[in-house]
Amino acid sequence: MHPNWPLRWPTEWRDPAALDLLEGTPLGCLVFPSLDGYQNVIARARQLGIAICDIDHPPPGVEMLRGEWPGIRMTEGHGDATSGPTGAPWIDSNGWLIRLTRARKPGATVWVSADAPKTSEIVPLSRHLVAVADGAAHGGLWVVTLDKDMAVAMAARKPVSLDGWKTLMGAIAFFQAHNEWSGWPVDAVLSVVSSFSGDDEFFSHELLNLMARTNISYGIVETAALHTLHNDTLNGLRAVLYPDAQPPAAEVRQALLGFVKRGGLLIAGPHWSTIPGAPPGRPAAEEPHPRYEMRRFGSGRIAMARKQPDDPYEMAQDAQILLSHRYDLVRFFNGFLLGAYCTASPDGKRRLAHIVNYGGSSDDDPATARIAGRFRAAKLWSFDRAEAQGLRMAVQRDGIEVHLPGLSVYGGVELEA
C-alpha cells in the first residue's frame, strides 16, 4: 500500500490555510483536477512535504482508477434504494476493479477515485467511511473526496464536520496500521480466467462485478498470465470460470484441462467445443442443467454453456450453483447489505474476512457470519478499537458461526487456524 494516502483537494478550498486540516492525518498526497489555479495551495503543500499530483498524472507506481461511490445506490428523488437483478438493494463496490487491476499489474499501488457527489445529494459520513473501507479491504486506496457541504463546513471549522473528519482519518489510519493485509492473497474457491480485454472486456468486467454480489470467493487470472504463472496457479481451487467467447489459446486450454483432469470444475462457453477434437470428455450422468451441458473429463467436470452466455448476472448465478453453495467460504445471516472479501495470510496460518456494510449503519437485526473451516480463535477488528475483540465461535460441521456485533461500516474477522 502506498504510504501517501490521497485526498482530492476540494474546489471549495482556495485558502492554503486549509492545509492545516491535514496536520496529524494520514493523508500525504493532494490530488488536483489540474494544477492550474491552486498555486498558493501547492506551494504551501510542498513546503509541508505533502506530495502533489493532478488526477490524470498520479505518482509513479500508482494506478489511478475511475470508480464509483460504493454503497447502496439510491434512487434520485426518492428515499429508497434501487434494486439490482437480485431483487435486493443494488450495491456498488470498487472491489472487483481494484482486484482486477492488482492482478494485471502486480506490485502497483491502486488508487480509486470518483467525482464529488452532486451538490443536491446528502452525503452522510458513513458514505465516506464505506468508500475508504471498500477500497482498503480490497487492497486499494480510496481518494478521499469531500462533498461540498462537508468541504465548506470544514473550511469554516464547524465542530460537527471536524468530528466527522476525525472519524474518517481514524478509519484511514486503521488501514494504514494494517498495511500488511493488502498483501494477503485472496482465499478463493474459484478463479475467473479471461483476457479481460477486447471483445471480452465488458462481459468479463461485469461478471467480476456481479460475482462479488454472490457468495463465491473468487480469484482473478488473466489468460495472458496463466501459462507464465506457476503450474500451481490453479491448485487448491474447486472451479475455474472461463467466460470468454473466444476459444482459449492452446497453452491456456492445456492448463485448464489439466486442472479439470486433476478433479476441478471448468465452467465455459460453447466455443470451448469448437477446438479441433473437442468437446473433451464424456457426457456426465448427473442432474441436467438448463443452460449447461455437463461432461466428465479425468477426475473433474466441464460445464459447457449450450450458448454463449450474454447475461453476466445469470452466468455468475449459474457458476455459484454449478460450483455449489457447499463451498461458500462466508455466508451471512441478516446481512443483506454486507459484502465479504476473504484473504489468507501468506503463511496460511490466519484467515481474514474483510466485511463491509454497504448500508453504512448497523441494522436492528444483528448479523451472523458462517465461515467455512476449522479455527482455534476468532477476533474482530474495527475502526473504533485499537485492539481486536475476541469473538465467540459456535462450531459447526465444516465451519464456525460468529455473531457480529453492530457492524456499521467495517469489520475484519481474523481467524486463527
Binding site: 457468495n215 442432474e287 438448463p290 450453483i321 453453495h325 461458500d328 445471516f333 441478516n334 437485526d365 458461526e401
Partner: protein, 381 residues
C-alpha cells in the same frame, strides 16, 4: 378457556358464518367419523423426536397404510430468504420447519414402505435446486437424502423438471380460483404431506399445515414477476399479486372468478389457501413447534419473539389438525374475522371447512396423545 366464547365472540362467529358456505363433508374428508389428530410433547430436536413422531403416526393408524409402496410428496416450510434470522437463531429454530423433523418424517416413511419421498419447497425468488437453498440455510441436504432409500428434492417455484404445469381444480369451484397451475410434483404423487411450523402470521392470523401450501404456487405464474400471457421462465420476487390482486396470474392459468372482489390480503390469502388445500388435498399434516416464533411468520414481522412450545401435532385432516394447533397456541379454532388471531383477516379454517375440507370444531375432532391442556402454549402473552 378455549371455546369459551363471549357473547360478542359468538355473535361475531355467527355473522362470519353467514359469509361462507356451510361445511359439507367432501368425499376426501373423513366423512362420517371425527378426524383424529395426535399431539406429542417434545422438548428438543434430539433423540426424543423420532419416537415422539412414531408414536403420533401410530396413534393416527400407522404410516404404512398411508405411504406403503407410494410416492410421497412433502411440502416443507422454508419461507423467505435464507438470509433472515430472528436475532442470531438459526431459521429452523424460529420460522423454518426443522430439518430433523423433516428427516424423522422421511425416515419413518421409508421404514413404513414409501417407495419414494420427494421434498418440495418453492425457493425464494430462485430456480436453484432445493438442495442449494438448504445449503444456504446451513442445512445439510445429504442428511435428508440419506433418511430413506429414495429421496428427491424439487424447487417448485417454477416449472422445474416437467414439460408443463399440472392443473389442479378446486372442488365446488373454490372461493377465488377454480383451479391452479402448479409444479408437476404436486400431482405426481400418491400422498401429499404438509410439514409446517406452528406460527402466527401477519396476514392470515396463523400459519399451519394449510397456510404452508400458499407456497406451492409457482411465482412464475402467481408472482409479481410472472409472465403476462405465459409463465415466466425464472421465478423472481414474491407473491404480491396473490396478496393484493393488483393483476391476474399469467393468462395461461385460470384467472380468479371475480376480479371485483376485495383486493385486501386479509380477504384474499385465506381464501386462496382454502382453495389450494381443496385443490391439492393434504393427506398428512404435521405441524411442529418444538421451537418456533410468536408474533409473525418470519423475522421480518416485528415485534416477534422466539419461543419453545415443545409440541408436535399431526393428523390426516388438515383443517382438524390446524384447529388443534390453534387450540395449542391458545386461540379459539372457531374464531372468525375480528377476533384473535384473525383481527384483520378471515379464518382460513372456516373457509376450508366451507369447501368441505374438514372440521375445525374441536368437538368434532378426536384427539390422541398428549392432552390438549398439557400442550397448551399461549402464543400471545
Amino acid at each position: 378457556m378455549l371455546n369459551n366464547c363471549t357473547r360478542r365472540q359468538w355473535l361475531a362467529a355467527a355473522a362470519g358464518a353467514a359469509l361462507v358456505r356451510p361445511f359439507v363433508p367432501a368425499a376426501s374428508a373423513e366423512a362420517g367419523r371425527a378426524p383424529r389428530v395426535a399431539i406429542a410433547r417434545c422438548a428438543t430436536y434430539g433423540p426424543e423426536l423420532l419416537p415422539a413422531m412414531q408414536r403420533m403416526f401410530d396413534q393416527l393408524g400407522g404410516l404404512g397404510r398411508l405411504v406403503n409402496g407410494k410416492t410421497v410428496a412433502i411440502k416443507i416450510n422454508m419461507t423467505g430468504d435464507t438470509n433472515f434470522r430472528l436475532g442470531h437463531l438459526p431459521a429452523e429454530d424460529t420460522h423454518y420447519t426443522h430439518p430433523r423433523v423433516i428427516a424423522a418424517a422421511v425416515h419413518l416413511m421409508g421404514r413404513a414402505g414409501a417407495r419414494r419421498v420427494r421434498l418440495l419447497e418453492s425457493c425464494w425468488s430462485s430456480s436453484e435446486p432445493l438442495e442449494e437453498f438448504m445449503l444456504q440455510a446451513n442445512w445439510e441436504p445429504r442428511d435428508l437424502a440419506g433418511a430413506a432409500a429414495l429421496v428427491e428434492f424439487e424447487n417448485t417455484n417454477y416449472l422445474g423438471r416437467a414439460r408443463k404445469y399440472a392443473r389442479l381444480a378446486t372442488p365446488q369451484g373454490g372461493h377465488l380460483f377454480p383451479a391452479f397451475d402448479l409444479n408437476h410434483s404436486y400431482q405426481d404423487c400418491d400422498v401429499f404431506v404438509s410439514i409446517a411450523k406452528m406460527k402466527d402470521h401477519a396476514t392470515a392470523g396463523v400459519t399451519l399445515s394449510m397456510k404452508n401450501c400458499f407456497g406451492i404456487t409457482p411465482v412464475t405464474i402467481y408472482g409479481d414477476g410472472a409472465g403476462s400471457d405465459e409463465p415466466s421462465i425464472e421465478p423472481h420476487g414474491g407473491r404480491g399479486i396473490m396478496h393484493d390482486g393488483h393483476r391476474q396470474p399469467s393468462k395461461s392459468a385460470p384467472p380468479e372468478h371475480d376480479p371485483a372482489t376485495p383486493r385486501d390480503d386479509g380477504y384474499r390469502v385465506p381464501r386462496i389457501v382454502a382453495d389450494l388445500v381443496a385443490a391439492r388435498p393434504i393427506d398428512l399434516a404435521i405441524v411442529e413447534a418444538v421451537r418456533s416464533m410468536a408474533g409473525g411468520e418470519g423475522p421480518w414481522v416485528k415485534p416477534s419473539r422466539a419461543i419453545r412450545p415443545g409440541v408436535l401435532v399431526a393428523g390426516t385432516n388438515c383443517v382438524a389438525t390446524d384447529a388443534v394447533c390453534m387450540a395449542v397456541m391458545g386461540y379459539d379454532p372457531m374464531a372468525v374475522r375480528g377476533t384473535p388471531p384473525f383481527e384483520k383477516c378471515d379464518s382460513t379454517l372456516q373457509l376450508a371447512e366451507a369447501l368441505g375440507v374438514g372440521p375445525r370444531d374441536l368437538r368434532r375432532i378426536e384427539l390422541a396423545g398428549t392432552p390438549l391442556r398439557e400442550a397448551l402454549f399461549h402464543y400471545r402473552v
